[in-house]
């Protein structure tokens, strides 16, 4: 199998700034630019390496703030790692924000077209798939209303529907599944199995260990920005649960 995502020794640092850091030109003139510089760095991700072959699903588990979303963003090309490199072969379909990056004032249709284009399609290709997308998301009646009138569940459904109908080579999903109801979750998982079978690699962040265990082939466990373990999904979920139970007991 071809490797579609290669993450090697990736680190991402964030800068912590002086509390008095100027945020306006006025303050910068008054206080001087000296305080613009960061006072310290901390690593949001450190020395992360793994690969994802085509047609495999990788689950990412870890506590809040362990760097899961940061990692998905970097793979999606948002920002740049400070160390190491990320190689991606193929088109990415992504659903990282629960709002899917929709604009509240635009209609569902307008947002879906833009989202489809951002997932790498042309306008015409999106329009050709619109019926399918809308039917999958079950938002037929609301499609031409502004997104702000959509419930959060409807927004996620539409975002998810666009992401899985754009034939991505790599699909990145962050926590989106937990918003829909059970029947929609099942529909999503079925659809993901289908596109996985056609060779799409899937990276999935979920707080529901059962989802990772059932759906993913492999998994990695992040803690405080470091990769604690990688292996088969069931092994990693077991280790993670044991680790979390141990941490809870220690408190």
């Amino acid at each position: 199998m071809d490797t579609v995502v290669t993450v090697s020794h990736v680190g991402k640092s964030y800068r912590r700034y002086h509390p008095d850091r100027p945020a306006t030109i006025q303050e910068a003139v008054a206080k001087g630019l000296r305080r613009m510089r960061h006072v310290e760095r901390f690593w949001g991700l450190r020395d992360i390496s793994f690969t994802v072959p085509a047609g495999r699903t990788l689950g990412i588990v870890g506590a809040n703030g362990s760097g899961k979303s940061t990692l998905l963003r970097l793979i999606g090309g948002v920002g740049r790692p400070d160390t190491g490199r990320i190689d991606v072969h193929g088109r990415i379909g992504a659903l990282l924000d629960l709002g899917a990056g929709f604009h509240p004032e635009l209609t569902g249709r307008e947002n879906a077209v833009l989202a489809g284009i951002l997932n790498g399609l042309t306008r015409r290709q999106v329009l050709e798939r619109m019926d399918e997308i809308v039917a999958f998301a079950e938002v037929e009646d609301a499609l031409d209303n502004p997104i702000r009138t959509f419930s959060s569940g409807m927004q996620v459904r539409l975002g998810f529907a666009v992401a899985v109908h754009t034939q991505p080579d790599i699909l990145i999903i962050d926590e989106a599944l937990s918003v829909g109801d059970i029947s929609f979750q099942k529909k999503c998982l079925d659809r993901m199995k289908q596109i996985k079978a056609s060779g799409c690699a899937i990276l999935l962040v979920s707080h529901e260990n059962s989802t990772v265990e059932e759906f993913c082939d492999d998994a990695i466990w992040l803690n405080a920005g470091r990769l604690i373990a990688q292996g088969s999904a069931s092994d990693i979920v077991r280790q993670y649960q044991a680790g979390m139970a141990g941490a809870a007991a220690a408190h």
């Binding site: 999606g76 948002v78 193929g90 992504a94 990282l96 990056g101 604009h103 635009l106 284009i117 790498g120």
Partner: protein, 266 residues
Amino acid sequence: MMSSVAARRNTRTFEWAQTRDLLRELIARDIKLRYRGSLLGILWTLLNPLAELLVLYFVFGTVLQVTIPNFPAYLFTGLLVYGWFQTSLNFATGAVVANRELVRRPGVPVLILPVVTVASNLVHFVLSLPILIGLLLVTHVPLTAVALLLPGLIAIEFVLILGFAYPVATVNVWFRDTSHVLRIALQLLFYMTPIFYETSTVPANLQWWYRVNPLTHLVGAYRAILMRGELPDAGGLTYLTLFSIAVCLAGMAWYRRASYKFADEI
């Protein structure tokens, strides 16, 4: 199926079509958002330069009685050309910070955000051109074949504005009061550009500024082709073009470098 899909994706034509569609969607989105809820929206933006024209014409044409031939058309050309520059840069402060959801989303080439700002304001500029042409015809200025150079001038102005839009968008990511400072700078520049006066009436010791200011040459070139039916001054046009390209390349390079941090800062 996989191979045909891969082949299609690998073609440059596809990437170009995709970028073009993205640009188109984002520009349409910009315009829709600005006017959603007000059908009169576009009309208002057209009325704006007209109101400015009336005020300035009253002050300088009627009260102070400047002797510039066909002053209304002279003034309106300057106002429109400067207006596109000014509104684009005012909107450019939000090109990154107002598009948080796009900047943090995979698949968005952030380099195009300022392009979208300048382009959506170009739409207004183009929509107000018929008014200018009307004014020229009413004041008996014959349009000649030289006026066909207009798209070329518009392209140069586009590059010039974009060159400033990139740094303006970047600075506002870190300093959120950029728009205030910018507004003052743009107001000063308005008076320091020959919009309602002629460069020839400026004192000799200030002439250097008008040679350096690219907007002098830009406004001058528009007036040459539209009002006088002449080719623009070759030296001025060359300077303007080189200046625009240089500013655009430098601005873009700076923006690109800074863009890796955008997602962390907004």
